[in-house]
């Protein structure tokens, strides 16, 4: 009843091709954006903004990047954290070495640097496929982290490669409070998400999906494999790079190369698997799940089991529950949380009638 598109006629090609063709979706998105921009900064406490919502948005962006590469173009990558590191360190160096560099340009520069590195490490994908490629991307993960640690220039010769991100300032306004940082991150994420949504429903996105489904067949019908795959690597790394820059500038403040470890790469991969491979909303749902789950587990364990269990047992218990839940979700809904939302939409369309 609520979600029925009957009566919404499209009378022009523009209306047929718009980004959200169903009116309810448009209204829904506007409501979500309004809540995110206006209600959230007012209602949520500083802790929530700083420790949960900002990382959630940043990881969503990284998951979005990986989803473009893995979900749409079908190239499994285990090196996303390394591309985040490139973005973070490149932005830092842009700010450090170019006088009066605008912060947004530095973020874009960080993204572009990550994209360049992504293309370099994407080259093997032209020959190597599947899990062989996944393991090969680990080369990027380990090599980049090693390089950033060993070459002092990247971290301005600080000890052990730690960098402290500069203040963010746009047109004289300094983003210091969690609210301001949150809004800045939100704005960047929204713009990039809309861009991604448009990209995947354009000819570029369709070429990616063709390559994902069968690259030989895609080549036969005239899609340029090299161009398409490398573009996927570049765009994906750009998103990861911007996410990394935000991670350093808006979230942590001081980062070291070791912070962008393989664990982080796996976390981002978990986000897209749990959220839904090959869907934009899936990246957000998955990021919410993976960011919130450890916190929820922490709270549960500390509140209910603090007196009962020694800390060593409870930390192991968290590991077990985390792993167990991931397996559980994969079994129950292998297509991810985005699929649940799809099923919900189908139900809403008919509700309250059974057929």
């Amino acid at each position: 009843m609520l979600y029925r598109e009957a009566g919404q006629f499209k009378t022009s090609y523009a209306a047929d091709q718009q980004i959200f063709p169903i009116r309810q979706d448009r209204i829904g998105i506007l409501i979500i954006l309004a809540i995110a921009f206006f209600a959230v900064p007012m209602l949520f406490s500083e802790y929530w903004l700083k420790a949960i919502l900002i990382p959630f948005l940043i990881f969503s962006l990284a998951a979005l990047g990986l989803n473009i590469l893995t979900g749409y173009a079908g190239q499994l990558s285990l090196g996303s954290a390394a591309f985040m590191a490139v973005g973070a360190f490149a932005s830092y160096n842009f700010m450090l070495r170019v006088d009066g560099m605008p912060i947004l340009l530095a973020f874009i520069g960080g993204g572009l640097a990550a994209a360049a590195v992504g293309i370099a490490f994407g080259l093997p994908s032209l020959r190597i496929k599947g899990f062989y490629l996944a393991v090969a991307t680990l080369a990027a993960q380990f090599f980049i982290v090693w390089l950033l640690t060993k070459v002092g220039w990247f971290s301005n010769y600080s000890s052990s490669g730690v960098i402290t991100a500069q203040d963010m300032e746009i047109l004289g306004y300094r983003f210091v409070t969690p609210e301001a940082k949150y809004l800045l991150v939100l704005a960047i994420v929204v713009v990039l998400a809309l861009l991604a949504k448009n990209m995947v429903r354009s000819s570029v996105g369709r070429a990616w999906m063709a390559v994902r489904d069968m690259d030989v067949a895609a080549e036969v019908i005239g899609i340029r494999i090299m161009h398409t795959k490398l573009l996927a690597f570049a765009v994906s790394s750009f998103y990861c790079g911007v996410a990394g820059a935000l991670y350093a500038f808006a979230y942590i403040g001081t980062v070291e190369p070791e912070g962008f470890s393989l664990d982080l790469s796996f976390k981002i991969l978990f986000m897209i698997i749990i959220g839904g491979v090959g869907s934009i909303s899936g990246a957000f749902l998955g990021a919410a799940f993976i960011v919130l789950l450890p916190i929820a587990l922490d709270v549960i364990v500390q509140q209910w089991l603090a007196g009962v269990l020694p800390p060593s047992v409870s930390s192991n218990l968290q590991l077990i529950v985390f792993g167990g839940l991931i397996i559980f979700f994969l079994i129950v809904e292998p297509h991810g949380l985005a699929r649940l939302w799809q099923i919900g939409k189908e139900k809403l369309r008919l509700w309250p009638f059974p057929h």
């Binding site: 190597i128 899990f131 680990l138 380990f142 036969v220 491979v277 218990l317 839940l325 397996i327 079994i331």
Partner: protein, 297 residues
């Protein structure tokens, strides 16, 4: 020259250790197409279980048997709880499930046996072989030689098992073609259970050797990361590939560390094997011994 040979031999022997872990990956991938990331956690769990049983006062053979039994149970439970509900899912989903499994196994093993570092004593000293040292001046560790011997034994046993037993034939049939194997009445799920149990056994042997070398600690799980380049170099589906890949990775890694490391600041062993494997892959995209993949439209 002497130094070169010494480094090369040391590298080859440590490569054998990587092969152990890669072997477990290959067995499971061959039989079920699952890229089992939990192999490293299984190595850790097996070694920890063995040491735990020894601390409880069990003698060596009994502890070995008990640890093996635990690994078999783990394999069966994994098949039942994780793999069976995920039949026919895309490989990446199964891969993620094994990463989830990694967390569960790590948590379980540490929860049961505790997280502190233990030593593991196999009764073999880590000293250079004396007669070789005297005659040629090349130092080769007895322990490494022992490890290589165990590896040779293990591979021979596995080869015999695959070649001459009924189960082994069934395993090869399943590895060849799931559908065909099913249609002639080979019980797929039983085979998977057996494969996971065998992989558990390989993990136990790897855990004992690695544990005796470096102590039984959480870092044992990182052996999986050492084994991955070996795996792609040799090919996911080849047991000889795992051994040869291990030898290549082990030797080049040590040689690079000694001869190149000083120019670039050291610590290159974290990524050098991967770059090395990548270079091989560019020439042979399915690894040295992997099955040639033919794309059809």
């Amino acid at each position: 020259m002497q130094f070169f040979i010494e480094v090369l031999l040391g590298g080859l022997l440590s490569g054998v250790m990587y092969s152990f872990v890669a072997l477990g990956f290959v067995l499971i991938y061959k039989a079920s197409g699952v890229f089992n990331f939990a192999q490293g956690a299984m190595v850790f769990a097996a070694a920890l279980t063995f040491v735990g049983f020894q601390e409880m006062g069990l003698p060596f053979p009994a502890a070995l048997l008990a640890a093996f039994a635990v690994m078999v149970v783990l394999g069966i439970v994994t098949e039942r709880v994780v793999l069976r509900p995920l039949v026919n899912q895309p490989p990446i989903t199964l891969f993620m499930a094994t990463i989830g499994l990694t967390y569960v196994i790590e948590g379980l093993a540490q929860g049961v046996w505790g997280a502190n570092v233990r030593g593991l004593e196999l009764g073999i000293e880590d000293v250079p072989v004396q007669w070789l040292m005297d005659s040629t001046g090349i130092g080769v560790s007895t322990f490494d030689l022992f490890g290589a011997g165990v590896a040779a034994l293990l591979v021979t046993l596995l080869a015999l098992f695959f070649q001459y037993t009924r189960i082994g034939r069934a395993l090869r049939a399943v590895a060849d073609d799931h559908q065909a194997a099913l249609s002639i009445g080979i019980p797929l799920q039983t085979i998977w259970r057996i494969v996971w149990a065998v992989a558990g056994f390989v993990a136990l042997v790897a855990g004992l050797i690695w544990g005796a070398r470096n102590g039984v600690s959480f870092s044992l799980t990182f052996t999986a990361l050492k084994a991955l380049p070996v795996l792609i170099l040799g090919g996911f589906t080849s047991i000889p590939g795992a051994i040869v890949g291990g030898l290549i990775i082990g030797s080049t890694e040590k040689l690079a560390e000694v001869y190149l490391g000083e120019y670039v600041g050291g610590g290159i062993d974290s990524w050098f094997p991967y770059v090395m494997a990548l270079a091989f892959l560019l020439v042979r995209p399915e690894g040295l011994f992997g099955e040639k993949h033919i794309d059809r439209v």
